[in-house]
């Protein structure tokens, strides 16, 4: 698809003036097609993700909120004309104030929320991956009802997140929930799930594990089916046990898929808003909040504090960026090209 360029290639011309436009031109001729194909997505992402992002970074250094956002205050005078005066409390640049207030715990509970978020993310992703891997291994062999099991096990994925949140909140209801009914059926006292930080967190974690296992299972099952079966046959001839086959063929073969889904799973779980927000609602007394839900409540309950919300957003994004940089570096050290 490369069209003929007007000038002959002269990459070594010392006069950069004439070489540069032609290089640009050639680059354009060669790549315009690819650029045209990605352009719509780039525009939408630029307008709706990156503009808000940069604006957010800027806002986190100001004190903008719902009350001080207008530059002028206008009042109707008796004659009916509007009189406008400068807003004396107009929002302004405040430097690192927001960060100081958040990190010292003056507003919100940054460190407690971060701790909860780390526990939440680690436990959820570990169970997602562990259960997903286990179920995928079981499903990745010929047996009866395989298709049926697969459909049933993937089904939670098809349930909208807020419906699952509602369903589990219903199950963990203290008075008439299924969980307590089952507990009392086996003679254990009903638990008031949302009265304690850890049981409240447990309900959210159970909900999220239920919700997230299907994705991991499907991705890993897909990965397993790309591993050539000759490897297994050869190993079997060599007398390798099932465990040895799993450890030495399945796991290494799954590495690229697992690394990707673990990274994605970590990011998604870290920012998982609806589950905590709807299932525990932060009970008891905000102790089961994770960073995103805590930040949302701190910034948007009462007078909406846009600058505070942005500060939290920047902090959350920084944590995830640092994590993924280290994650990729760790992978590269182990010889992964990814």
């Amino acid at each position: 698809m490369t069209t003929v360029t007007a000038e002959p290639a002269s990459p070594s011309t010392p006069s950069g003036r004439s070489a540069r436009p032609s290089r640009l031109r050639r680059s354009w001729d060669k790549h315009w097609y690819a650029w045209a194909m990605v352009l719509p997505v780039v525009i939408v992402l630029a307008v709706l993700i990156f503009y808000p992002l940069f604006r957010g970074i800027w806002l986190s250094f100001t004190n903008l909120n719902e009350a001080n956002q207008v530059a002028e205050i206008c009042t109707k005078s008796i004659t009916g004309s509007e009189v406008c005066a400068d807003n004396p409390n107009k929002w302004e640049f405040v430097g690192l104030d927001n960060y100081v207030r958040v990190l010292t715990g003056e507003v919100g509970e940054f460190w407690q929320w971060t701790g909860t978020t780390l526990i939440w993310t680690f436990v959820c992703v570990a169970f997602h991956f562990g259960l997903g891997l286990g179920l995928a291994t079981m499903l990745n062999r010929p047996m009866r009802f395989r298709g049926l099991y697969r459909v049933l096990l993937v089904l939670p994925w098809a349930v909208p997140a807020f419906v699952s949140a509602f369903a589990w909140k219903f199950i963990f209801n203290e008075r008439f929930g299924l969980a307590n009914a089952l507990l009392s059926a086996v003679g254990i006292d009903p638990v008031s799930w949302f009265a304690d930080r850890w049981t409240a967190l447990l309900t959210a974690i159970v909900t999220n594990i239920w919700l997230g296992v299907p994705f991991m299972m499907v991705a890993l099952l897909g990965g397993m089916q790309t591993i050539p079966s000759e490897l297994y046959e050869a190993a079997e001839i060599d007398g390798a046990s099932a465990w040895q086959r799993f450890k030495n063929i399945t796991l290494p073969g799954l590495r690229p898929v697992s690394m990707t889904v673990i990274l994605l799973g970590t990011i998604w779980t870290f920012n998982m808003f609806p589950i905590i927000f709807l299932v525990t609602e932060g009970q008891p007394a905000g102790q089961s909040e994770i960073l995103v839900t805590g930040a949302y409540r701190a910034a948007f309950e009462g007078i909406r504090n846009y600058s505070l919300a942005s500060t939290y957003g920047v902090l959350i994004l920084s944590i995830l960026l640092v994590f993924s940089v280290f994650y990729r570096r760790a992978l590269r050290k182990q010889g992964e090209v990814w």
Binding site: L48, I49, P52, M138, L153, V163, N180, A181, G222, S324
Partner: protein, 284 residues
Amino acid sequence: MSRVKRPGRSRRSPARSVLLHGTLLMASVIAIGPIVWVLLSSLKPGYAIQSSELTLFRDTTLANYSYVLTETNFPRWFLNSVIVAAFTMGIGIFLSATTGYAVSRFNFPGRRPLMMVFLVTQMFPVAILIVPIYTIMARLGLINTMPALIIAYLTIAVPFCAWMLKGYFDSIPTSLDEAAALDGCGPFATFWRVVLPLARPAVAVTAFYTFLTAWGEVAYASAFIQTDNKFTLAYGLQQFVPQFNPQWEYLTAAAVLVTVPAGLVFFFAQKHLVSGLTAGGTKG
């Protein structure tokens, strides 16, 4: 997919067979249990739901459904949701597929940064992006319109889908593209008529993912939509539930009604899910 019976494989012993099926059966029960429980509860009257006695069926009635269907603006919300989800799905598939194809096949400047951007967009907390996006939508005059929702949902779904489709396109041999080019297909015709039909499983997964993103989303819907006749189903059904005295019987019925269409889409996509996600996410 590859349901090849390996002939030389030793048969499972009965004990192991029981263990295998037992575990899978238990996992399946846990997977569908909550859904079934909500379904059963939705058929009970309010007082039976709120009793601590454990029963599967009690005074079975469809009253909850008829309340939700007739006393609320349900048909209107349902239509809105279908419109939003259908457009998100259609545009989402097209955008992710073209982007995924370009990233997979052409080595253009900006390719690697674009892949990184897809990953980074997943890191933005939606709850915090809502306000700046709201301001932009307001400036574009899109508040309380469906395009606002469709565009917002596309920003959630497209990066991941493009990433996934790129992985699938990578697994389709480029020799096919070259053959098509020799036959006189332009790059777009190659993509549209040769590669895309081969990527049907991955497209099915994309359809499922984009539909689900739009169908169940509540946060953006509650921020951008203000009048009752524009609500989507997911948001509308939360409206008639007072916060401190939830009417569980209507909530259960509403939950079932919201889940059924998602389940239908799932049913059509499910046989492609495993193969469609196969290559998806292998290499970044």
